[in-house]
Symmetry: C2
Subunit: 171 residues, 2 copies
């Protein structure tokens, strides 16, 4: 099984070409966009496995604000598609904010080809991990109990289940 489609969004044609050549061997299909305007429509149509999004589109504006906006917009609409950000302006605060806003990873230009491929594949792998409902539930139950300092009544209320059910789940 080959890693699926990658959607690459960058305002520079040169970058798009370079990325395309870099990723060609590793992915089934590479779709490129020079502007995020059509991103949502394109995602709907292409169903990419991962999105590589540049952070700066307005010339002279390098705060990354625009990329961040698109990150949140895309991530809200397609929470299951991992988004990897790429930027020329390596900034720790920006990177942290991006990851906290749902980005799967954050790479800086100039990039290392091998690393970029690895990062994108890793993002896909991570995003497609699905655990059993049972495991998800037991972890969540533990977290809720933790937050309530072991108070089962409040934890049950928080979880939206009855006290007895929580009692049974715990044992």
């Amino acid at each position: 099984m080959k890693y699926g489609t990658v959607l690459v969004i960058d305002d520079s044609e040169a970058i798009l070409t370079a990325v395309k050549i870099c990723l060609e061997g590793a992915f089934e299909r590479i779709v490129t966009l020079t502007s995020p305007d059509k991103a949502l429509a394109s995602i709907e149509q292409e169903h990419p496995s991962v999105i590589l999004l540049d952070m700066n589109f307005s010339l002279g504006v390098n705060s990354g604000g625009e990329g961040m906006m698109w990150l949140t917009a895309i991530h809200r609409r397609f929470p299951d598609i991992p988004i990897v950000l790429i930027t020329a302006y390596a900034d720790v605060k920006l990177a942290v904010r991006a990851l906290k806003n749902g980005a799967a990873d954050f790479v800086t230009k100039p990039w290392d080809n091998e690393e970029l491929i690895r990062v994108l594949k890793d993002a896909i792998d991570k995003a497609s991990e699905v655990v059993s409902l049972e495991q998800l539930e037991s972890e969540h139950v533990r977290k809720a109990l933790n937050k309530c300092d072991g108070n089962m009544k409040r934890a049950a209320d928080l979880l939206g289940i009855s006290r007895q059910t929580l009692y049974n789940k715990v044992k």
Copy 2:
């Protein structure tokens, strides 16, 4: 209910004092450690709401590797306690790796006092968010179906439930 205990781990006494003064007004209790050796025992005893962990402990070693090691060790043992990393060596790659390894946030020295308080409180708030089992489940179900391209049989298998049960949940 006021923001609980903060555990601060940094090899510099001067830093610990400065952080202590900074956080004193905003948290109930500040516990400090000059070395992560006793971190696990201290956490067990103090039950901190959040941990502020410095990344560099060996003089001359500033790769952050040691902090990263402790981050993963602590996070594995106490996955519900948010860990905020702090370092003097602002490095995008390091920050990204830290967040992907479970850190709640990443701040650089010198820090802004207001920002540090905000970051720690935010980490606590985020960590204590607990959603209902029903909501958690429906989101997970959606994710699983997405991964299986809508194939209910495979999705049900992946989730560890029967096909009919998944069928009922979806409607």
